[in-house]
Symmetry: C2
Subunit: 313 residues, 2 copies
């Protein structure tokens, strides 16, 4: 297997938290298991936030414990189930559920931070640093979201140097993976390439992921430019689910099927079985109750008659 691109699946967390349909613990379990069977080895399974803030993920403890329970010892090197955590209480819950891969985050934009977390970026960072130090002592794997890395829905364009400064600070903490996030999906390919180029001069790109949304139909173009700039880790959401309930104008994440297809076209393997992935999309669509699926859907379905079978691995 030629896994040159790491796909970090955020559908069960970033996707489901923005859907009005609330899935049961069992349905989420089936979704996660389907993703694992399709070859996705890194899955952000849930977020340990207050149930009142995100009722869609109120079952975080059960979902995480279930996923880990069913897949413990699945294989020597996988799969990894990540829990998003913003405070001590969330950390305690994640740890109790057996989660040993934790994601944290803070925004570059002060206004976004204040409206999203009712915290200044400085306060959010201080909290995150405490949590990360705890995770490092605990031997957990750590990931950090640099939110509004390009554009803030309230402040507009963010200076790349401001984003770079935050990325460097987080890198200095020894975080395992840093995801620069186009939180509302308003970034453009030139800005994406420019920021990655800037960051690449300071920190090794093998620790860097990009987290893209497809709000303005530029998700794949932005991903192509990030790939060209050296990024090999992409956050995507099965079916293109997602968004951000606190960010006006945000639409779905870049669809997993779109990124996997584009990487395949470029000769870069992802380890994902494309047909199985579509099976997950179709099952999820029935649960969600509205049409989902990436932009490649039309071609993929219309090509089944006349295109040869493609092995995406």
């Amino acid at each position: 297997m030629n896994e040159l691109v790491k796909v970090y699946e955020v559908g069960p967390r970033d996707g489901l938290q923005n859907e009005s349909a609330i899935l049961t613990v069992e349905q989420k379990g089936r979704l996660i298991d389907g993703l694992v069977e399709a070859g996705l080895g890194h899955i952000e399974a849930t977020s340990f936030v207050h149930p009142k803030a995100v009722p869609q993920l109120a079952d975080a403890d059960e979902v995480m414990a279930g996923a880990i329970g069913r897949h413990a010892g699945y294989a020597a090197a996988g799969p990894e189930f990540v829990g998003l955590v913003f405070n001590e209480r969330g950390y305690d819950r994640a740890w109790a559920a057996g989660c040993r891969s934790l994601a944290f985050g803070a925004a570059v934009s002060e206004t976004f931070s204040l409206r999203n977390t009712h915290n200044t970026p400085q306060a959010a960072l201080a909290t995150a640093r405490t949590l990360i130090e705890r995770a490092q002592r605990d031997g957990a794997r750590t990931r950090f979201y640099v939110m509004t890395a390009w554009i803030c829905p309230f402040e507009g364009p963010i200076s790349p140097h401001k984003t770079l400064a935050l990325v460097r600070e987080i890198a200095d903490w020894g975080v395992d993976e840093i995801a620069v996030a186009d939180t509302i999906g308003h970034a453009d390919p030139l800005s994406v390439g420019h920021l990655i180029d800037l960051i690449a001069r300071r920190i090794p790109l093998d620790r860097l992921a990009v987290h893209l949304h497809d709000t303005q139909a530029l998700g794949l173009a932005n991903a192509a430019m990030a790939l060209q700039a050296g990024i090999r880790i992409f956050d995507t959401s099965v079916g293109g689910l997602g968004g951000c309930p606190f960010a006006p104008g945000a639409a779905g994440n870049l669809a997993t099927e779109d990124l996997v297809f584009m990487a395949y076209k470029m000769g870069l393997g992802t380890g994902v079985d494309f047909r199985r992935l579509w099976g997950v999309v179709y099952e999820l669509e029935a649960l969600i109750g509205r049409p989902i699926g990436g932009r490649i859907r039309q071609w993929w379905e219309s090509s089944q008659d006349h295109e040869p079978r493609i092995d995406f691995n």
Copy 2:
């Protein structure tokens, strides 16, 4: 006006030739005039092929003469109406209609050439060369399509060196503009960037256009990579109309509204008035009788409530 990207509109030709609905001369006139009013200064208005081969364009003579008649002296530097021509008969018709901008073409792929034009690439090239020499004597502007520049529906991937050789030959003839065409829309961003890089080492990029189709949802990603590689001329089709009736699996051209939007996001002006362009899309959609419009449509329409007015010029 900050027109850093030249948009070459192929909707009236490449778009309409693949639609089952056949527009009247008057409807085509309205379409062309609407495009001109939206700021599109280079429009491939029709193709002077045999009416039996492409019945949708059987009215080429009237459409071209009408467009030129209505817009002669419109402005010192525009608009340009281009006619596609594949033989002496077509050239005679175009010239008689007043057309002074002519497009020609040949395929890199031998199989595609044989099936599409019932000619070998060598024979197609010899014909094109004769026509181009005539156009140059006549003082006409010349454009050349290098078809199947990346992928042939019958042969599969085309060696970039084979495409490069054809591009260099055409460039030696002194053709004003060369469009490298992803005829069926199966190219990927890495291949697009690679070919442009190769060509850029041999001929100045200001003569080079890319002609992309959006079959596999990679149109914008491919355009972003071409732009990054230095391309500043893009063939697009209003509403994403188009395809190729002789190429199995080809879907619509890259939509004009998608490219214009992405260029705007990158800070590159196109001279196109985005709102007027959507007016043309909606009117065309009513005529065509099926939903059209680029991938940016969903965001554009949903954003009208809460986004500020954007000046795209």
